[in-house]
């Protein structure tokens, strides 16, 4: 229950952010929330089911390209484009999940990588839809249905992103606390045992890939009109690796952690790289330090210190 109180508190603080933050801070915050949604969606796979995906950029890229394409070539209102993108990512994920779950462990990781890279190759080759190496540029923010123009404004868009993120969080949270989530944790701890208890674990795994992709697709779909473009970098394996690091750094299996991890990753990189060319050196050392000091993710650090403080 206390957790939900925290959730509402965070929601209120974030909702009030446009009142207090300068223009560019809002841009950063919006992007951080979008990446947070993506990292959180990956956490369903990585943190709750121990399916380490090296290809989560595929979900993001699929969503971004779909939403971008619809915004550029149709008059579809933005909320529908977002849904369409999430849906497409989810549908594709059924196939991807079906193939990838034939393997487990590191082979599963590499299969997801292979799929993401094939999508990357497709984006490079399918020029008429994806714009090849240039990607899609000048993606507009289409007005919402019934002539709602509020989504075209910066703050309006921020609230759309915030609502999606909070909605996604509520969904994931109920999911992991449901019997479905219990089975996922069962798979994480011991798949053979869960299977022997009569659960069709493969079906559960395909489902979690699908949900994870749909939410990741939604994040990508939110990104395209936010940044105004979509390109092949969003599908590249390097980005998949970065999202995975965001999840780990934030704390896998916590949902909130990966959101913080994404914000941390993006903001630290953004700020460091403005100060020094050698930012990657410090960035790398941070990650090494994180592991060496046995820090199990940002969220666990915060939560483990909270009680200590209240006692003091």
């Amino acid at each position: 229950m206390g957790n939900w109180r925290l959730f509402f508190l965070a929601a209120i603080v974030l909702a009030a952010a446009p009142l207090g933050l300068p223009l560019f801070a809002m841009t950063l915050l919006t992007e951080a929330l979008i990446l947070g949604l993506l990292a959180m969606s990956l956490d369903l796979m990585v943190g709750y089911t121990r399916m380490i995906s090296f290809g989560h950029a595929a979900a993001y890229g699929l969503g971004a390209y779909t939403c971008g394409f619809l915004a550029l070539h149709t008059a579809m209102p933005l909320p529908f484009s977002l849904l369409a993108a999430a849906l497409l990512a989810g549908v594709v994920a059924i196939g991807v999940g079906w193939v990838c779950t034939m393997a487990t462990g590191i082979s599963f990781s590499m299969l997801t990588l292979a799929f993401a890279q094939l999508l990357y190759a497709l984006a490079f080759k399918w020029t008429s839809v994806t714009g090849a190496s240039d990607g899609l540029a000048g993606i507009p923010r289409r007005a919402g249905p019934f002539g709602m123009t509020v989504l075209e404004t910066r703050n309006g868009y921020y609230y759309l992103v915030l609502a999606s993120m909070l909605g996604g969080f509520a969904l994931c949270r109920s999911l992991v606390n449901s019997p479905f989530g219990a089975v996922l944790r069962g798979i994480r701890e011991n798949e053979a045992k869960t299977l022997s208890l009569g659960y069709n674990t493969r079906l559960y795994k395909i489902s979690v890939v699908t949900i994870s992709f749909a939410l990741g697709g939604l994040a990508g779909a939110l990104y395209a009109p936010f940044a105004g473009f979509a390109n092949t970098d969003l599908l590249f394996w390097l980005f998949s690796g970065q999202v995975l690091i965001m999840v780990i750094v934030g704390g896998q299996g916590t949902l909130v952690g990966p959101i913080l991890g994404a914000a941390f990753f993006m903001l630290v990189e953004h700020v460091l790289s403005a100060y020094t060319d050698a930012w990657a050196l410090f960035f790398g050392l941070i990650f090494i330090g994180f592991v060496m000091f046995a820090l199990e993710g940002i969220w666990r650090i915060l939560t483990s210190r909270l009680p200590a403080r209240s006692r003091a």
């Binding site: 801070a25 990607g135 390109n231 403005a274």
Partner: protein, 403 residues
């Protein structure tokens, strides 16, 4: 700055606000507001070499200008930030410069797809972007926006220069190897059209994915094509890898290697493998006119090296920008735009005219051949032909030529 960083680590939620509130690099205290020029440049990643060149050119120019009392009596301040060659980061950094640092002029965006992602936002930001090296033909074609200007040579213009040179050569059959990238495809298209017009035979082209390491199969294909010349549109690591391997296969003994671009950086990285290569150049430091000689001498005095291709090209863009600001008497986007349109400047490459119709700088085209010179550690590009601006610059908003 390390201290600030620690602070932002303590509480992550706050860091969103903190990061944005931290002021940019400490600024020198001038009594007048400086002219801030934003440079979201790729300083790390695969194109870091080009980014480093462009940055150096801008810094060189800014120092020159500030030494003479600045522009419009205001000092020039460069705001530099790394984009890693990634358009997502480039757009974010550019937006930060505009919204937080009050930048109204951008330059030094290295990669074409970074530029293509940025230009649709210029109107919203009320900001002028003066390209320093972006070659994609569409930037002055279908993707042209009013606030974009290109004083540098575009990809099609580079190809055009080489094509004009080939018209008078005895070579008859050509084959193409391009990077599987928008730039590679566009330039190859221009080259193919040029071949047809010149009554030469274009026997086909093949495109290699970015990051190709082994070019042996492509070399086999080039040999089988039976062409006298092969036109290369490769850049960076791919270009260096191809040239090194072509040399190992002695490809140049049978086929003349031609390329849209050849810079000293590539020559240094591949050594003798480039000797004999004929290529377009956006800026050959060996170009023999007084303005360039003065530039090269001043450059060497500061950096003790010769200015490379992207250094010269970016420097010319800075000179054009400077002339525009002086003419406009302002850095406001609307005034600067009006001043830049039709602006004529004598730069280190000769006269540049920023034509109003598509904001492309009309200028001469150079064709160079890589030769060994006595007393130089590396081979150097020697200008073997120059073509006037009216033959090099494409028709307005176009990437292909009529004659």
């Amino acid at each position: 700055m390390a201290k600030r960083f620690d602070a932002s680590r303590r509480t992550i939620v706050k860091s969103a606000a903190a990061a944005a509130l931290v002021p940019a690099m400490p600024r020198p205290a001038f009594s007048v507001e400086p002219i801030r020029i934003g440079m979201p440049a790729a300083l790390t990643g695969p194109v870091a070499g080009v980014g480093a060149q462009m940055r150096r050119a801008c810094e060189f120019w800014a120092k020159q200008v500030n030494a003479k009392g600045g522009l419009l009596g205001r000092p020039v301040e460069l705001i530099i930030s790394d984009t890693e060659g990634n358009p997502a980061i480039a757009v974010r950094k550019a937006q930060e410069m505009v919204e937080r640092d009050g930048v109204r002029i951008l330059t030094c965006i290295v990669v074409s797809n970074e530029a293509l992602a940025t230009v649709p936002r210029l109107a919203e930001w009320d900001t002028i972007f003066v390209s320093g090296d972006n070659g994609d033909g569409r930037l002055t074609g279908e993707s042209l926006v009013p606030n974009f200007f290109r004083p540098n040579v575009s990809g099609p213009m580079g190809t055009r220069a080489v094509s004009l040179y080939l018209r008078d050569s005895p070579m008859k059959n050509f084959y193409g190897l391009g990077m599987d990238y928008a730039w590679g495809h566009n330039s190859m298209e221009v080259f193919e059209a040029e071949c047809k017009r010149a009554d030469k035979k274009f026997t086909g082209a093949v495109f290699s994915p970015m990051g190709t390491k082994d070019f042996s199969t492509y070399i086999t294909r080039i040999r089988q094509s039976g062409a006298d010349g092969v036109y290369l549109v490769l850049s960076g690591d791919d270009n260096a890898a191809f040239l090194s391997q072509a040399k190992q296969y002695r490809l140049g003994d049978k086929v003349q290697l031609l390329t849209e671009l050849v810079d000293q950086m590539t020559i240094n990285a591949t050594g003798d493998a480039t000797v004999g290569l004929i290529g377009g150049s956006r800026y050959p430091y060996t170009y023999d006119i007084p303005a360039n000689k003065a530039f090269v001498a001043a450059w060497q005095a500061v950096y003790h090296t010769l200015p490379d291709m992207f250094e010269g090209d970016q420097y010319q863009s800075c000179i054009v920008l400077q002339a525009g600001i002086e003419k406009a008497g302002s850095t406001e986007a609307a005034k600067l735009r009006a001043a830049l349109e039709g602006l004529e400047v004598d730069s280190i490459k000769g006269r540049v005219i920023m034509r109003a119709c598509d904001h492309q700088g009309e200028q001469q085209g150079f064709v160079t051949k890589i030769v060994k010179r006595e007393g130089m550690e590396h081979p150097v590009p020697e200008v073997i032909a120059t073509y006037p601006a009216n033959r090099i610059t494409p028709p307005c908003n176009k990437m292909v030529y009529d004659d």
